[in-house]
Symmetry: C3
Subunit: 341 residues, 3 copies
């Protein structure tokens, strides 16, 4: 399977076979973390990380990934890029992408909802870079998708439930929270879980609908893979029999539609909705369910300490998996060498 | 030819033989980008990049250069340096340079017109570092000069016109622009083009004189290399028969003399001068001329899209060359190993 | 001696044998700076540097250290960490430390007096990270201690006075200064000098007492190692017969107790105290004493140029030693490989 040169903007853009191959490589990279066959894949090569928004995990894990592949990740911020915007003269994306393609073997971009004018603009920006760049573009989280998080999620589930996730029940549930969170991780997980054949249950309070297009894609994925999809407001139904619970806060569509949303108001609204914190009592309804979350966790709101730090929580493993899946993506799409498992 | 330990503050400080050797190495480094003979030149060594001003190309290309030579470039900003200034206590340049010489094999510095009190101060600062440091100082652009850009320009011309540039006609022409640009790239190009024997034509509107000392040096270079130099206000004469057109905005000397210039006023003034945008019509007057520019390009002002993205534009190649010439400079001046072509 | 996995928050936490072994390795690493036995110790590994406060020497020397050991140091700032604070939701130290332990082989943290609520909080924060992290925590300077500086000091003294420092007289003396300095370097030096058997004389003007607990520990160290300790206000007595003079400004305990101290007031007060600048006249009282200081030096206040740049000044050597001792600490505590001298 030849994946050299492929962009990764959303897992939905890749075939199931490509996603499965990436995960096989990631599992092996974890097992053989510093093995010679992996440490030269990007030897002396540069990976550019362009952060419109700062990050925690993403920067640490991508920079470590490049290092472990023998290369180097450059940390770039837009303040030093002098790019053309509506309000200032500067370089076009065409020019920036053309030149970056000469220096580097790959370009990661992160841009979230507060740096854009309207929902979808971040994802569109990545696709514009992809159009001009001759090197792979990797989405390090945009306003719609977060493919590396989605891959890390699936890797984490496979570590506990086995490679085959078909018909395992995932509850994706809205959580209270003081952080007014993006949709990228959530929506990516819906898409990739349904690709891998999981039964997906989505539960949230009124007023917290996600992108209808993503919901339609998830439904279609479930149909293709022979699994089920439902949306519920009934938490008991949602938790009942779940193999996996993904409890996380996200913003309302009204707020999320514009880059100039009222964050304080959104947090206030979210904190007034009772009963949506994932706790041990609710977890008892599950099929000895795993707890998953992309971190950072808003403990006490999205989930209790007991669940987040409990035996069935895989949050730290999933965070670690970011490293492994990103190494796999970079190795497969950016290296001149062929990976042999 | 022994170049170990040499500073590079302006190409004028180097002999023509040293510049030619650097370019030979740069061409070979492009051809054999990741060859073993080059990837160990700075193995495990540190190159410090000290940015008084942020940058696009410069940071990306220097950091990639260090990586490709097996070393690592550290990104330093003055806010974290606690240096002594007129207004605050802190470390002297003597102390900073002495200690950096113990940690690193080379030090790049970038300081432009808005970070200094008066024209020339930036260049003087670099020379003060060079006085105290026992490692090579590389100019990553100052208010007067930009030697790595100059070398990349010549490399780009050699790629299209052959190694021998003698008597090829260069038109250096002022362009409209919304960015109020520095003189460094322009002045460096005048100096190095004339060293390599090009006929230099300089064209600009009234009120946009450059540094008289640099103009005198350019004239002297032309005399030494048997080429011609002229300044003209007649654009038709300038474009006529040119082998290369370098069209770029630069600030007026009145504004550029002080670090506290009125940028908005300068842009406004520049935008009111008509007819100085490089376009296809003007390019038809040339000898099938190449278009060159150090990027970022202010498209629509300095040059039209048709010219900047046309067949005869070498701007992206020149941007790529930054990487190669900087690798050559670093390899020749900072490595313990001898480069054999 | 097995040191893998050890935190280094204060030299007092390590046995004398461990400190001596670290210094033996550091001396050898200086002698064989890029030798193969050292350049693979952290090959392809990541060291995280988390700077609550910016730094000069610390960042340069730690990043160079990781590079010279074959690894890579990531530069992290708290603005990008989204950590939980009193005023904002965010990630707990438990979660951050757990995940960083998955990506990296070591974590350095720097936090000074202006980023905390009360004296001791910085040091406590490091110990909280150490509690949760499964990788070594290295103190890159906190409000109480600066172990790598202390080790670099001792290495510098050994280079001039020999390995055995027993009964050599150290004068630690307060200096005028415009920078209102932290206590970390000073207190660490008192602790490690007394561990290595030096006679310690501490001299300062009224109102500049240091942490009483550190003074008690220093006294106890002197007792254990059979050396003497005294505090004096008499400068002639202090300088008389000193083998080493460490002259540096530090803040008064009133100011230093809180993170919201009046820096300008503190500087003003310090500048009004006359006679505490280290100069050639005072140095004539010593036993041909060495001058030591952790840099950056406030020349003219803490010490005259003649002394700081004189033959007996070891300040640049000590700054260089930061690199070597940090490489030794990282190699000994973070590498899978065993160091053989």
């Amino acid at each position: 399977m030849e994946m050299k040169g492929k962009d990764l903007i959303c897992t939905q853009d890749w075939s199931l076979e490509e996603l499965e191959q990436t995960l096989r490589v990631a599992h092996d990279m974890k097992k053989n973390r510093y093995a010679d066959k992996y440490t030269d894949l990007l030897k002396h090569r540069t990976f550019l990380m362009f952060f419109y928004n700062p990050s925690v995990r993403t920067r640490q894990s991508f920079e470590a990934a490049a290092t472990e592949l023998g290369g180097h990740a450059q940390f770039l911020e837009p303040k030093s890029m002098r790019l053309k915007t509506k309000h200032s003269a500067g370089e076009t994306i065409e020019d920036a992408a053309n030149v970056m393609s000469r220096y580097a073997v790959g370009l990661g971009i992160r841009i979230l909802e507060d740096k854009i004018a309207a929902y979808g603009d971040g994802d569109r920006l990545l696709r514009e870079y992809a159009q001009y760049a001759t090197i792979p573009i990797v989405n390090m989280a945009d306003d719609r998708f977060h493919p590396c998080q989605g891959l890390a999620d699936i890797m984490g589930l496979q570590q506990r439930l086995g490679t085959n996730l078909k018909r395992k029940k995932l509850l994706m549930v809205w959580g209270q929270g003081a952080l007014a969170r993006s949709w990228g991780s959530i929506q990516e997980n819906l898409l990739i879980s349904s690709r891998f054949g999981m039964d997906v249950s989505l539960a949230y309070p009124e007023g917290y609908d996600l992108d209808p297009e993503v919901i339609e894609m998830t439904k279609a994925n479930c149909k293709t893979s022979g699994s089920s999809f439902n949306i519920t407001n009934d938490l008991v139904e949602g938790y009942h029999g779940a193999d996996v619970v993904y409890s996380r806060n996200w913003m309302s569509p009204a707020a999320y539609a514009s880059g100039e949303f009222d964050k304080a108001g959104e947090v206030k609204k979210a904190m007034q909705i009772d009963g949506w914190t994932c706790n041990e009592e609710k977890m008892k309804l599950t099929n000895d369910g795993l707890y998953i979350h992309p971190m950072p966790v808003d403990r006490g709101n999205e989930v209790t300490d007991a669940v987040a730090s409990g035996e069935r929580s895989i949050i730290v493993d999933v965070a670690e998996n970011r490293l492994h899946v990103q190494k796999a993506v970079m190795g497969l799409t950016m290296s001149d060498q062929r990976i042999v498992l």
